[in-house]
């Protein structure tokens, strides 16, 4: 019972905040509402027992990605007129199409019996994920670190200012 209450509270909060993301006039408010969406999604993950995913959700999305959004927004510092000039109509059209497609997909899935019951609540602990990552997928894991190293070195060397 308490679980249900929690679920509906957080799910409702997610939806509400998601609506604010779309309908807010100020982009800054949109980003801040997105932050609420991320946090309540993290709470839903916690309820599913996926603690690591929840933590990553907060760290990566709420922490890194959204801060990046805020930075860009503040650096651009768009005037209201500039915002008005953006062709919101086509964007809204595209969003509508994508939203409808996803809705149809969800309806199809639910009609076929849905995903309910097919998946046990996975072991979402750091331990289980770490075991899989470092036991069975250690080669791709290590290779990824070198991929990121190459990207970082490359980005720095392309952006570096000549010191002569």
């Amino acid at each position: 019972m308490a679980e249900n209450i929690c679920f509906f509270a957080f799910a409702g909060l997610t939806l509400l905040a998601a609506c604010t993301v779309v309908f807010a006039r100020q982009p800054l408010y949109s980003v801040l509402s997105l932050l609420v969406v991320m946090f309540s999604l993290a709470a839903l993950f916690v309820m599913l027992g996926a603690y690591l995913v929840a933590a990553l959700q907060v760290l990566l999305y709420a922490g890194a990605v959204l801060v990046l959004f805020l930075f860009v927004m503040m650096l651009l510092n768009l005037e209201p007129e500039a915002l008005a000039r953006m062709r919101l109509f086509t964007l809204r059209g595209a969003g509508l199409v994508v939203g409808l497609a996803i809705a149809l997909l969800l309806i199809a899935i639910v009609r076929r019996g849905g995903l309910a019951g097919t998946w046990q609540a996975a072991e979402g602990t750091v331990e289980s994920l770490g075991t899989v990552l470092l036991r069975y997928y250690v080669l791709p894991f290590e290779l990824t670190s070198f991929l990121i190293l190459a990207a970082i070195i490359g980005a720095v060397s392309l952006a570096k200012i000549k010191h002569h």
Binding site: R135, Y136, Y137, V138, L139, P140, E142, L143, T144, F146, L147, L149, A150, A151, I153, G154, A155, V156, S157, L158, K160, K162, H163, H164
Partner: protein, 474 residues
């Protein structure tokens, strides 16, 4: 589950050397950074020694279901290390454009090598993706490395955008294959294809992954990036793109098709044959009107991708053997040409074909090197390229695709035309100025060795063929 580290020694050492290069770039005083090319060469040499040690020990080792160390992978790892070594030699005259950013350039060269080493051993979709991305990430950045030149930036941007698109195809295809087989391991995917039934979605997945790899080897219709990137990127990087990246793409494609989908051969051999015909025709016809030597070589490399696909489209072990020989022949011929073009570009100050007028009077050795390299690329006996084309076409005849062989033969004639036009410029036209120039000793030795390889493979094929027969079992 323990990992047999000795079988990963080459890759592990490459990883370690990347970090050594990083430290060296940060710690060495600016004046001594010019010696970083030697560090890179030394790293490649030690990799080669470790590889030789593995070859002596021999055998097949599948590590963690995803990394296959066998004679086939060792053969191509040796080829990749050789390619990188020649590219390092090429960067010597070009290095002075880079000023303080030389260290990162060699580091990225080494990450590209690591990517190619992984691709040679790939036996899992995840590793395939990571190896390809490691190689391509490094190349994106190296292509744009001359950041004060608009052309170089344009090359990097175009390569990045079209490369990301192809990675999208690749990942989407992989997701479909994973959904079909329930695993990313090639063994599991092969098993799923064998047991069947094969839903259309799995076929779509396979074709999408092939499309992603087609981008790497510059096959039509995934070739759009080639001419601009070849023209704008620094010449040593283009050499790495043209020989290293293409070979890695072909090896990965071979691994995927023979390792994960041998039962689908009826489908993919036909797809490859069609792509091969289109690729040969497009590349060779497109090369004719070019006025820039790097663009010309770009189109010619598209043409060569067509021949490589022709060999793979035989769908047999002997087809892969022919492709392996072709790749070695392409390695010596094309790297000789690119080494010569790098030096000529430095001395002439431009890559326009007009500048090559009368090159034989200004630098007889360079002109002779281009002469031999071009004839080998065109497929004139008794040079390496001829034997490679002959083997590939014989396999196509065996598989009963005479129409494809006919197109291949016509394309030899077309390619001969545009190569001979350059040779005519170098030997018959009057030079714009009469100043002469020479290569430095290292470049002369490397170029001579490559040319010797071109002649040797054209006359005595037996040792290499024997080696290929022992090692090539995809």
């Amino acid at each position: 589950m323990t990992i047999p580290l000795p079988w990963l020694s080459v890759e592990l050492f490459a990883c370690a050397w990347i970090l050594v290069l990083l430290a060296a770039d940060l710690l060495l005083p600016e004046a001594r950074k010019a010696s970083l090319w030697l560090w890179t060469l030394a790293g490649l040499g030690i990799c080669a020694i470790l590889l030789a040690g593995q070859a002596i020990a021999g055998g097949h080792h599948l590590i963690q279901q995803m990394f296959l160390v066998d004679p086939f992978s060792r053969f191509f790892k040796a080829l990749f290390l050789g390619t990188a070594a020649v590219v390092v030699v090429m960067t010597r005259p070009f290095g002075r454009h880079l000023a303080g950013r030389l260290g990162a350039f060699y580091l990225l060269l080494f990450t590209a090598v690591l990517g190619m080493l992984v691709l040679a051993s790939v036996h899992d979709l995840l590793m395939l993706f990571l190896g390809l991305e490691l190689l391509t990430f490094s190349l994106y950045i190296m292509a744009a490395y001359l950041r004060t030149e608009a052309r170089s930036i344009e090359a990097g941007m175009k390569y990045l955008i079209l490369g990301s698109l192809s990675s999208g195809f690749l990942v989407y295809g992989m997701a479909l294959l994973y959904g079909f087989a329930g695993s990313t391991h090639f063994e599991a995917i092969r098993h799923a294809f064998e047991v069947g039934p094969v839903p259309p979605i799995a076929v779509a997945g396979l074709l999408l992954v092939m499309a992603g790899l087609g981008f790497k080897i510059a096959a039509v219709p995934f070739h759009l990036w080639v001419p601009d990137v070849y023209e704008g990127a620094p010449t040593p990087v283009v050499a790495l793109l043209s020989v290293g990246s293409k070979t890695a793409g072909v090896v990965a494609l071979t691994r995927l098709l023979f390792g994960a989908a041998p039962t689908m051969a009826g489908l993919w051999t036909n797809v490859l044959a069609g792509l091969s015909a289109a690729t040969m025709l497009y590349g060779n016809l497109g090369a004719i009107p070019q006025t820039n030597i790097k663009r010309l070589l770009g189109y010619s490399s598209i043409g060569h991708a067509g021949y490589l696909l022709m060999g793979l489209s035989a769908g047999s072990q002997s087809g892969v053997e022919a492709v392996s020989f072709y790749l070695v022949a392409y390695f010596v011929s094309n790297l000789a040409v690119f080494l010569a073009v790098t030096w000529a570009g430095e001395q002439l100050g431009s890559d326009e074909l007009e500048q090559y007028n009368g090159l034989s009077k200004r630098s007889p050795f360079l002109a002779a090197a281009l002469f031999i390299g071009f004839l080998s690329l065109a497929g004139v006996p008794p040079l390496a390229g001829f034997v490679g084309k002959l083997f590939v076409m014989l396999r196509a005849v065996e598989s009963g695709r005479l129409w494809l062989v006919a197109i291949g033969a016509v394309n030899v004639a077309i390619s001969l035309y545009y190569y001979l036009m350059v040779i005519k410029r170098m030997y018959l036209d009057a030079p714009p100025t009469s100043t002469t120039f020479r290569l430095d000793r290292l470049a002369t030795v490397t170029l001579s060795l490559l040319l010797l390889g071109v002649l040797w493979l054209g006359i005595v094929q037996e040792p290499l063929v024997r080696q290929i027969l022992v090692s090539v079992r995809p």
